[in-house]
Every structure is written in C-alpha cells, then in structure tokens.
Subunit: 261 residues, 3 copies
C-alpha cells in the first residue's frame, strides 16, 4: 500500500498516481491533497493524526515549499512503515506517532534518497517522490538500508509541534489547525478537562461549557470539547468554532479550569 | 467492496480508510465526503440517487449531527447490500431504492450495532462506523443476523424525503438539493413534463422553456428539465439554476403546465 | 485500469464508478472531477499533461457542454490506451501526447461509439460513457475495431490548444490555465528561457526575475519559471501568480528576453 498526501489540490496528484502505477501494483490510498498550502506544520499535524491508523505502508508526502532548491529527499522508516518526502520535518511528527503505537518499540531510521536531476524544478511530487515511493514499495521497506539510492543519516530536519504549558488549573497553548468543520484544534492535552465535563472553563477569560459531544448543546452554542486527536478543541454545535471564538491557526489560547465549577 | 460517504471534508476520511484497511482488503470507493454538512436529508437524497448503481457492497455512511449522544449505530440490510451508519434515518431512502431495484424483492432488515465505548466522542466515523463496516464486510452481509454485535430491530429512525403534490396541470413541491452545477433539484416527478418538452411551463408564475438538454438553449438561458434523478430540475445552460431562479434547498416550487402551450 | 476525469464535482462521479464496478473489476483512478466547468480547452490541457504518465488504460473523460444533443460519443485509441468521451475535441490533445511518447509511433485511431437511448439526457457520464469505458476495458483495447458498437471514423472533432508565436528575443502567447496554486500557465515553450535563469525578462513590459524554483526568491516575490508542463509560467513564491500578474485564463502575454540581461 502507498498513501499519498500533498497540498497540490487537483489535478497534479493524478500524475503522481500515473507514475506510481507504471512502477507498482501497490494499492493507493489518498490521505488528502488539500492540506493547508505550503504549511509544513499543519501537514505534520494531520499526518501524525492519520497515519497511525494505517496498516504498514509507504507514505508519500509532498508539502514542499523548498521544491527545486538543494533540500534533500528523505525516507524515514518506522518498523514496517516508510515515509517518503522532502527533508523539511514534515514526516517526523507522524514518524514519532507511528513509533509510539508500534508494538515492538520500532526505532525511527532516516535515509537520504539520491535522485537524478528531475524533469522539472517545480513538481518533485511527480519526478522525485512518486518514483521514490514506488521504488521503496517494490524494494520492500525492510530492504531500504541496502538500496543504492539510500544513505543512512542522522542529519535530517526535525520538526516538533509546539507544546502547551500546563499548570495547576491553568494552561496556555495555541491553535494548531482549524479543521473543515471550523473546529479549532489546540495543542492543550484533553486530560486537563477530565473533571470538567458538564461544567465550564474559561477560554481567554470567557466562560464556556465543556461537553463530550457537540449535540449536548443547542445548535449555534459554543463549547469546549476533546476532539478525536485527544486535544482541547474550540467548537460550535452545527457551526464553526473558529468564527465563534475568533481564532485562526497559530493564535494563543489561555485555558482555566476548576475555579468556576 | 466498501463505499464511504460523509460530510467530513478532508482529511478525516483517511483515518477511516486506515482503520478499514487494517481489518479488510475490501475495495474502497468514495461516494462523497463533501455532502452538505450535518444535513441528513440531503445526504439521504444523494445516497438514494447513487447507491443503487453499485454492485453488492457495504456502504458506510457518516452524516451524524448526534455523534457522541446515545443515538444507536445501525446496519440496514437489503439483499446483498448492507448500509452502516447512525440511526438518524440517513440510510433509509437509499435502502428503499436498493429494495426497489433488487430483482428478488429483497426486504429491508434493520439491526442495531453494539459498539464499545469509542476512543472519541466526536469521531465515530473512525471509532465506530469504519470498524463496523469492515467487520460486516469480513463477516459477510448474509451472516449479519448471527453476529454477536447485531440485534434485529423494527425500531429504527426512518426518514422520508418530502413528496410533491401533483394535480391536473399543476404541482407543488420543493427544492430538495442544489447540485455542484447549481441545478436546483425538486421533488416533483419528471413525468409531469412528459408532453411539455419544447414548450413552456410556469415556475412560480413565470414562463420558462422545457428542454431535454441544457444545450438546446443559449448559454445563460433558464430552463426546466428532467435531471438524471428523474425529477424536475431548474437549470441554466452553462450557468447556475439556483442563482437564476433565486432558490435554495427547502424552497417551495409551484409548477404549472399545459395551459401555456 | 480505468481513469476518470470530469467537471462533475461531487457526488455524480460516484454513480459512474458504481456503473463501472458492476461491469468490470478494473482498477479505478481519478484524474480530477473539478476540471474547470464546461471548459473543453482547459480539460484538454490537463489531460494532455497527465495521461502520458499512466500505464496503458481506458481513460473516461466527461467534460460535455453538449450533453443530450446529437453530438457523438467517441473512442480514441493510441497504442494500448483508449480514451472515451464526447466528440468535442477534449480527448485529442491528450491522444497526441500519448502518441508522441509511445515507443512505437502508435497512430491515433478514432471510432464512434453507438449508444442506446440513455436513461437521462443530462448525465451521459453515468448512462453512456461509464458503460462504454467499462465495455472497452472488458473487450480489450486491441479488439476495439471489431466491437459491434464501434465504427472507425476520420470525421471527429479535433481541438488544438492555441500556439504561441516565438521570435528573436520575443514571444507572444496566452494564459492557457491557472492551476490550484494560482500559477498562470502559458502556451509559451519553456525553451525560450534557457539562457535567462538567474536574470530578468519583461512580461507585458515589466521586468520580472526568471528562476528555476519558487523558493529562490522571498515569499511574495513574483517570478517567471518553467513549470512541470514545460511551459513558461507566471508565479509567486508562496503566493498566487494570477493575482500578482493580474491575469486569467485566455489573457494574452507578451514576453521579451535577452535585452535586459
């Protein structure tokens, strides 16, 4: 199986699929091709949320503002998974998630991928990463280290999503991404709300109900919940949380709990 | 084969696919993931239009404003097809269409699906319905009744799309949905226009030409036609019918024919 | 393998997939379903860019403003590829590209495809082209000429994308399409910039840097580059070229090089 993720929109991913299908009969599954454009951090978040649900696969990821510069192509192996993409850190948060759910404590191993001068300087998805993913799939993830194009490396670009600061009854964090529903997903861990469900917390000083499900409140009502990612999320039942809370990705969030219950 | 339909946008459906691929090698086909958000009726319409064209499959449907509340998960069997989704009626119009096209007069059989406390209260698509669909696929639709998680039930939520009232030369109905082209699809059956093609009808009192094909008129011209769903549709050649007729889903439509020809 | 391309948006393509899956186990790959609506020329451009990357396949294309009129359905064969769609020229630029990359100088052979009165006058994608593509796939591209529904024809609608005029240090062309990134893709061949990289050219009289990669400049800077299609492209690093240059598809472009270096 080869999964595909990019910020390419349409129809560029189809050329990648054509290239892969000429090299491999691998099953293809799209993760998304409308990842926030050239936003390496947002892509890293979504991949970390999504890839651990997959069986062993080669994951081809192209969110690549540096395309055509001298940034490397990398392959990151975690157990039976391989992630292929530009060396800008986009693969690493997902690699850590894959490592954390692996039964056998699989290490994260990185390789640079040597590529020939590609046909284009602007579409390495088609000319570099799709062929690399197909080759890794056909060679086998287990044989990666011995492939003529790979060189094991400890010098790759890493990326860590920003962490929140959690104190006693108080946390400060930020909005990592806004999803298609308008839910503002923060980096504050959902465990801080463990005793708050059914009550209220303060978001940037304003009291907001905490509920497990959107539909526990009336349509249009604001709420704080814990999303499927396990993080604190600012939402509106049948509406957009980002609009109702006036936040966009990157905005700081101040959360207080306990006092008002 | 497992088909997938939701209002999730992107990239949430990818996590559902990962979950399914860990349980099953079933072929996956997307119906749509941009169904009108939290609009159970519109989703029911599109599923009823689309699923009958498929070979026997498990159809996983998640348009679920009540996620995380105590609404049940249901599996509806129609012959060799099974529909898996929330108990809010979204599956039933499609189930009736599947029954009506089945050669052998297949009955509609409903089962509640017992699920464990899911990992999230907000993403049952990933945590409840995807695993259920994969399990039904692997168990086999024919063996559904004997599965430990299923309980046959006659008490499920049904949903009927609103029906139009057809009289002699006159019908009143409403716009069910507007498609991506801007065509306003009504619930008035196309048969009322059988003798009107090439002539005119009155829509809310205004005379409009009736044509079989958009391109029978000049670009930008309004027309009434019978869409691929068999219903009366308000359209514009190479334009948007909803804008030109000033209608949105849910608006009442008054149609008169015969007199003006 | 059957590829699918249309301007249908969602969820209409799903009905086409259902129809095909009832006739064939062919692998399905989406090219795009958000091709610019009813824009035969833009669709022809994208297909010509994309289909040559695929292994032999049946390519089902439905951008069809004339649906329901008496325009023919055609099948165009190029070696082991077959293209199925309306007789409006949309298939021909891709067919020529497929012929140009074929090792054996495959000819372009066109057949009309006889279809029965379809169920709808508005959705031949579902009622004509999907069944035709599945039939061609099952019959085999090699056996196309002998199929009861095919008639070899030399009288089909052709379509040529407009060509630029290239002189000495000067070219005039036009914007063919704008991609999802906002890159304005012209019909001026990239070879005219062979000696200009790192320097400047004049676009409609204004001096603009020429670079191989977007990221050679600061975010927000305009540039001229050669895109993955091999044509001159007007772009902005991490921004939209169409907005920055004030152009839309169809606009004329005047390019001068050499003098200003």
């Amino acid at each position: 199986m080869i999964t595909l993720a990019s910020d390419f929109g349409s129809p560029y991913p189809a050329a990648m699929k054509g290239v892969i299908c000429r090299q491999s009969d691998a099953r293809l599954v799209d993760i998304a091709h409308d990842l926030p454009r050239q936003d390496v951090r947002a892509a890293a978040f979504w991949l970390a949320q999504t890839l651990p649900y997959f069986p062993p696969a080669v994951h081809c990821v192209v969110v690549d503002p540096g395309v055509g510069t001298d940034r490397d192509a990398v392959v990151v192996r975690v157990g039976d998974h391989a992630l292929v993409g530009p060396d800008n850190g986009v693969l690493l948060p997902a690699a850590r998630e894959l490592a954390s759910v692996a039964a056998d404590g699989a290490p994260i191993e990185a390789f640079t991928w040597a590529y020939d001068d590609p046909a284009s300087s602007t579409f390495h998805g088609r000319d570099v990463f799709a062929p690399a993913a197909a080759t890794v799939h056909e060679t086998g993830v287990g044989a990666l280290g011995g492939h003529e194009r790979t060189t094991a490396t400890g010098e790759y670009t890493d990326l860590w999503l920003p962490e929140s600061v959690v104190g006693d009854g108080h946390a400060t964090g930020e909005v990592l991404v806004v999803d298609d529903f308008g839910n503002a997903i923060t980096n504050i861990p959902g465990r801080v709300l463990a005793d708050a469900f059914g009550g209220q917390v303060a978001i940037d000083g304003e009291s907001v109900p905490v509920r497990r499900a959107y539909a526990e409140l009336a349509p249009g009502d604001r709420l704080v919940t814990v999303g499927s990612h396990g993080n604190v999320e600012l939402a509106v039942n049948r509406g957009r949380g980002d609009d109702a809370f006036g936040v966009v990705a990157g905005d700081g969030i101040d959360l207080q709990w306990g006092a008002s219950r």
